[in-house]
Every structure is written in structure tokens, then in C-alpha cells.
Symmetry: C2
Subunit: 427 residues, 2 copies
């Protein structure tokens, strides 16, 4: 199709009329679809149902260290589960501790403790006049909500196809002592599905921050969440690179089994240097008697090792890949060459990121909603929910069925076309 940009006003008005009619037909269908939720489908969750048989009343629930997993004790997790999560997170067992069911809660905890007590002896953040965080955008709304909750000023850093803009990050971090951290989803990033390049990771590892308590909050949420067996992204392991760079304490690395087994009932982990972990354990011993060891054991016995996990993740891929491909092919079909927006084809992760024409994202989301399709609110991928150009929209293809996804993507494309043609008409 010819680009909207090159069309005459008459042509544009004609298209608007045609698309408006199509849109009204969609409205008559009375759809109720949801493309907003980055959560696995029932079919995906069913892949782990056999995990529910791993432990029963006849099972010995003593872990390999001789610890009764049912009773109190063991602050940082049982050995066999630590080993599994360490393999998933690509770190040494001694650099990892286990938490409860959510890596988000670990991140909250890191910020909360830094606020109240500081990091490895540095001034607690509540005593500082100002604390700032860097936020690669578009990014994950729940990261931004944590830093916002603690009154931390967020500075946007644009993403490139190799990861966030490292020139900008280096210049900011190395000059400004108030900058205490950066939120990263380094592999199959949320929402763009971008994996940081080797150069990006190495530059992160070699940062020379002005603040001694600057940390990279490396949310490795999608490390094994590939869409393809063959076409997989590769991410350099950050702890190793930081150690090599003489910067071992600069990173906190998070992962969980949330989108591997059951999202609400998984095991989450933190990896960090010994100095960081020792600092954190001083709090942990006050905060908790330790996470659920029975659930740790359940996971460690369900997966013998990371190869088991990787095979399991390919079953996930088989379920969600058709949904991603359907959305992408519908976007291609309807929007290619139209100058109505751009998008990235990811090789993994949970999202497709769509950049509409500036000033159009909110209108598209609203229009989709009025025809029964819920999208993530426009702006959610930016700190404070404010996308300065009002253009980014996050599409989450995993949860709905393939049929639903096709319907929703068709409608989405139509809404993009309608809002875009109106913009061209008005300009």
C-alpha cells in the first residue's frame, strides 16, 4: 500500500470513511479481548501440571543438605534449588540466594532497604536530599512504580537496538553522585524484545559511577524465554563481566521461575557479589525465617537441571510463537509501508512494542477499547506513566487464544490506521 504520507487529502478522507465503516462493523461484533496482560495462557501453565505430583504424602521432604524442608530454617534456600536457579540465571551457586515467589518483591526489597539502611555501609537514601534512577524507555512499568513510590527521580534513557544509549548512561552515571541505579531488562526486553549487545554489557560492567552505592538492577526476567529453537539471542553474563572489570559489586541480577512453571507460585532469586549478599543477609535475618522450602524442593525435583528447563521452555515457545507470528503478520499486512508506525520483531520475551505516530498512542488505545479490545494503557512503558511523545504501545500476545489474538490484532491495526489517517488529515 502507498504511504499515507504521500496521499492527497481526498484519498485520506476516502480511506477514513472506509476504515470508519470497518471499525463500526467491529464494534457490532461486541468483542471483549485483552492484549494487555503479560501473563502465560492456561495452555502454557498446563505444561507444569506434573509438578503437582512431584511431592506427596509419601515423599521424603528432606533436602540434600539433610534439612527438613517442612520446618523453619535456612535463610537463603536449599542447595538443589539454588543450583537450579543459578544455572537458569547463569551464575555460580555461591553468588545466589533464593527468595519467595516473586522477583518483583526482591527488587522492591532492594530499594526499600537502600532507602532505610543504605547499601554496604553507604548513607541510607532517606538521608540524602535527592536520589535519581536511570530508566531505559520504553521499559517495565512495575520497575518505575517502585522507584516512584520511594520518591526517586527518574531520568529516561532511550533504548537503541543494542540496548540503552550507553554514551548517555556513562556521562550521567560518571558525573552525578545522586544517580544510584538503573533498571534493565537486558534480554528480550520489556516491551521491545531487544537483547543488549556484548558491547553494551561490557560498557555496563566497566561503568565508573560517581556514587559508590550505584547498582545496575539487572532484571533477567526472560533469559530462557525464547520464541524459537534456532533463532535465539545471546546475552553476555553480567556478573562475570563486572568481576573481570574489577567492578564485582556493581550489579544485582534477578530471575524467577514465574513464567517457567506457575507465575504465582514460583521461586525467585537474587544473584550478586559476596560483599553484596553479606550486606543483604544482615537484613534478611531480621525480616524472615526464610522462604518456602517445600516449593523450592518441588521445583528442584521437577527439573533435574537447566537442560530440563530449556526443553520445557521450548514447549512454551511452541504455544506462544504462533500468537506472536500472527500479530506480526497482521501488522505487516495492514501497516507495512503506510507510515503509520513501527514495530520490532522479537525472538523472545512476552511483548511486541509498537511505536505509533507521535501523539497517537492514547487515541489508539481508546479507540481499541471502545471496540472491546483492552491494551496496556498508553504511557505505561514510561516513568510516571508519561510517554513524552505519546507513541509507544505494548502488545501482550501470550494470554489470549490464537483466534482471539488474530481478532484483536486486526482491530488494533484498524485503530492505528484510523487514528493515523486522522492525524494526516489534520496536518
Amino acid at each position: 500500500m502507498k504511504s499515507l504520507k504521500e496521499m492527497s487529502k481526498t484519498e485520506l478522507l476516502g480511506l477514513r470513511q472506509e476504515w470508519q465503516k470497518e471499525y463500526e462493523n467491529f464494534q457490532k461484533k461486541g468483542l471483549t479481548l485483552d492484549m494487555s496482560r503479560g501473563k502465560p495462557s492456561v495452555e502454557q501453565i498446563n505444561l507444569s501440571m506434573e509438578m503437582m505430583d512431584i511431592l506427596n504424602s509419601q515423599t521424603n521432604l528432606v533436602g540434600e543438605q539433610g534439612i527438613d524442608c517442612r520446618n523453619y530454617g535456612l535463610l537463603d534456600g536449599i542447595e538443589e534449588a539454588k543450583r537450579l536457579l543459578a544455572e537458569i540465571n547463569e551464575v555460580a551457586v555461591e553468588n545466589l540466594i533464593l527468595y519467595g515467589n516473586s522477583s518483583l518483591s526482591i527488587m522492591y526489597d532492594m530499594i526499600s532497604r537502600s532507602f532505610s539502611h543504605g547499601i554496604t555501609g553507604n548513607t541510607p537514601w532517606h538521608k540524602l536530599e535527592k536520589v535519581k534512577f536511570l530508566c531505559p524507555v520504553p521499559g517495565y512499568d512495575r520497575h518505575f512504580l517502585i522507584t516512584e513510590y520511594f520518591g526517586i527521580e527518574m531520568i529516561c534513557v532511550p533504548m537503541t537496538e543494542k540496548g540503552p544509549d550507553m554514551d548517555l548512561i556513562e556521562s550521567l552515571v560518571e558525573e552525578d553522585e545522586e544517580i544510584k541505579g538503573i533498571w534493565c531488562v537486558p534480554k528480550y526486553s520489556n516491551p521491545q524484545g531487544i537483547t543488549y549487545s556484548d558491547e553494551t554489557v561490557i560498557r555496563f560492567a566497566n561503568l565508573k559511577p560517581a556514587a559508590k552505592d550505584f547498582r545496575i538492577y539487572w532484571d533477567n526476567a526472560y533469559s530462557i524465554h525464547h520464541l524459537y529453537e534456532e533463532k535465539q539471542d545471546f546475552l553476555l553474563e553480567i556478573l562475570k563481566e563486572c568481576k573481570k572489570a574489577g567492578n564485582p559489586d556493581i550489579v544485582f541480577k534477578f530471575c524467577s521461575t514465574s513464567k517457567v512453571t506457575f507465575p504465582g507460585s514460583g521461586v525467585a532469586a537474587l544473584a550478586a557479589s559476596t560483599a553484596n549478599l553479606n550486606d543483604i543477609k544482615k537484613q534478611l535475618v531480621i525480616q524472615t525465617i526464610g522462604p518456602d522450602k517445600v516449593n523450592q524442593l518441588r521445583h528442584a525435583r521437577f527439573f533435574a537441571n537447566v537442560d530440563d528447563v530449556k526443553r520445557h521452555m521450548m514447549k512454551h515457545a511452541e504455544i506462544i510463537r504462533p500468537k506472536f507470528e500472527a500479530v506480526l503478520s497482521i501488522l505487516d499486512e495492514h501497516l507495512s509501508g503506510l507510515d503509520a508506525g513501527t514495530w520490532i520483531k522479537p525472538r523472545g520475551g512476552y511483548f511486541i512494542s509498537f511505536d505509533a505516530l507521535p501523539g497517537c498512542a492514547k487515541a489508539i488505545v481508546k479507540k481499541a477499547k471502545e471496540a472491546g479490545v483492552v491494551l496496556t494503557p498508553a504511557g505505561a512503558t514510561y516513568p510516571y506513566g508519561k510517554d513524552p511523545e505519546d507513541k509507544n504501545i505494548r502488545i501482550a500476545p501470550t494470554f489470549p487464544s490464537l483466534d482471539e489474538m488474530v481478532n484483536a490484532a486486526e482491530l488494533f491495526s484498524l485503530c492505528v490506521k484510523l487514528v493515523s489517517v486522522e492525524k494526516y488529515i489534520a496536518s
Copy 2:
């Protein structure tokens, strides 16, 4: 036996020689026993093994609200588990929210959030010059560790047989705006096993604190942890009393299934007024995607209702009662009338509290250790680990076997006698 107080020096010296010999015989036995750990025995934990069969790969894991317990979502718990915990905690379902596996973590969270963000719009504690807490003593060391960690000044309030000294509490709380809370274990208190009287609870409910953000931290850890079917303590329900008193927001009430099913893998809950819960949910939505709903479902299907739980708790009682009774009868046998210390016979809970002669607790704990019996460190039941009179010792009879407990109690009594006779000789 005649009181040591009334003996002549010669008699005391004779007894010391005799008891010293007995002690040396004990040392030769090479015991390695532990009376320090307030945790259930293996036999107790085995009572819940059938819970491991409740869910399997064929089970429908959709809760009664139609929510798939395996997936993300539902911040404050599934209805059927809320109902169960509400019954255990004796509150209305709408006044309760569920957390992860540990009520201690909820308490930590309450203090941490008050420190960083304040309670229901009041000034965050980190902005105040000083924050103080009242601590009934002897009390639970892990409570005191949380307030110590946040730099909160702790003021001891002596326990009486009806609960903490309410005259003192009223005069302090009603005058001092810096006092923001009090730690309470109101039923079968840790370590004394005392249950607060009706009058005590009503006076708590009617407190008129100077600080608007003063809260009673009501740790209902042992609400159903009776030792006897017939002889049970009764505790007035505090939320109801507070509401009656026009003071609905003054209390946070905690409970968990930790010593009901599996200590490390239970479900914990917080009960509070709607205003408090609404305030707390503003944080929860930032902090977590919600606790493990599959484990909630497991508990809700294992116990149909609170009567099931109460029957289950009687099985616990049958296992631990003989251990409590053995210790108490050994104390009676060896120490009764000797003026070497006092103790309370509890009807529930997890501990026996022993008050030695002033200045003797540390020496007794040390002597027991040198003969192979580990006791909770003297002082642990006081803020900062400092018992001003050095007299309280906490005995935890649940974990060891009955035989071990008998041996340990015999040695303990002997250590009390030896240290006491030395004190009388020196005085």
C-alpha cells in the same frame, strides 16, 4: 526440700559438693541436646503430610472466585483461604488479607513501610527525630530485632499474670507522641504462656494514644495452640473491642499456619480495619504480584473450616503436652520450695519461662552448655538482648523427643541448683 535461703553455710557447701558431682556425671554422658528452638517436632509436622496429596496434576486449581490459582493476580489472597485464616484469627473476612509464608515478614513490612511512608497519611518515621516502641518483657526476640533494626528506641514494660502492666502503658502512650507501637503476643505469650485478661484487652482497645499513628502489634501466634482439650485460655477478640471503643484503626493483628501445618510453608495473614487495609494495599500493589495462591488453595482444601483446624491442633497438643508436663514435673521435683527460681505452668503456646535468682541466668545457660544442653541465650527475651536482672530463661520443649527433654530438664534443674547455691554461698 528446705529452701536454700534458710540453710547454713555448711549445708550449702555440702549441697554444692553433691550437686557438682552430679553435674560432672552429666558431663561424662556427652549429651548434645537443644532446648532453644521454638519449632515443631518431626512428629508434629508429620500430622500434615496428607496436605501434600490435596493437590495433584488432576486437580482443578481454579478457586471459588473463578480465579486460576496458578497464574498471576489477586493481591490479597483467594476467598476460601481468607475465610479459613479469618476464622482462625477470629475476624471478619473483609478485615483480613493474606501474605506469604511468614507473619514475621508481615510485621517487618509494617515497620518498614511506616519508616519509609508513614501510616495512613501520618509523617513517615524516618522524618521524625525519635520513634519509640513499648516492649512487654519477657517477650519475643524477633519482634525486638525488627524495631532495633529500624533504630526505634524500645521501652520495657513488665508482664503481669494478666498481661503487660496497663497502668504504665496508658500513662506512657497517652502522654508521649513518640511512642508509635507496642509488641504483644496476647495469647499463650512468648515466653511465659500468659493470656491477656479481658480487662487488659479492653484497656488496650480503649487507649487514647498521643500519636495518631500508634498501633498495637497484636501477634496472635498461638491463638489455637492449646496444650489441653479442656483447660483452654480465652482471649477477647481485639478488633471487635477496638471498634466498640471507637478505636477501630488502633490495631494490626497477625496470624499464620506456621505451627499448624508446615512452619516454612504456611500461609500468613494480617487483620486490620478497612482504613488500615486500604492504606496498606497502596504499598502492596507496588511491592508484589501477590502471594502463592496454590499454597493458599492447598491449605483451604486441607481444612474445610476452623473446626478441622482445631481438631488438628489437638493432635499437636497430644504430642507436645507430655514434653511440657515432663519439664514442669522435673522443675517441681528438683526446685520446688528451694527459692532458686520461679516458673509458670502454661496451658498453651511453645515455651516455659523460668525466672532464676537475679544475676544467675547467664551462668545457668553457660553451665548447661558445658554439659551439652543448648538453651536460648539468656537475655534474648529482652530488647537489645539485655535482661537487666539477668534472670529470665526461655525453655522450648517442643522439638526434642520426650526422652531428650527429660534428660535436658534434669540437667537444667541441676544447673539452676548449682548456680543458685553458689549465689547463696557468696552472699
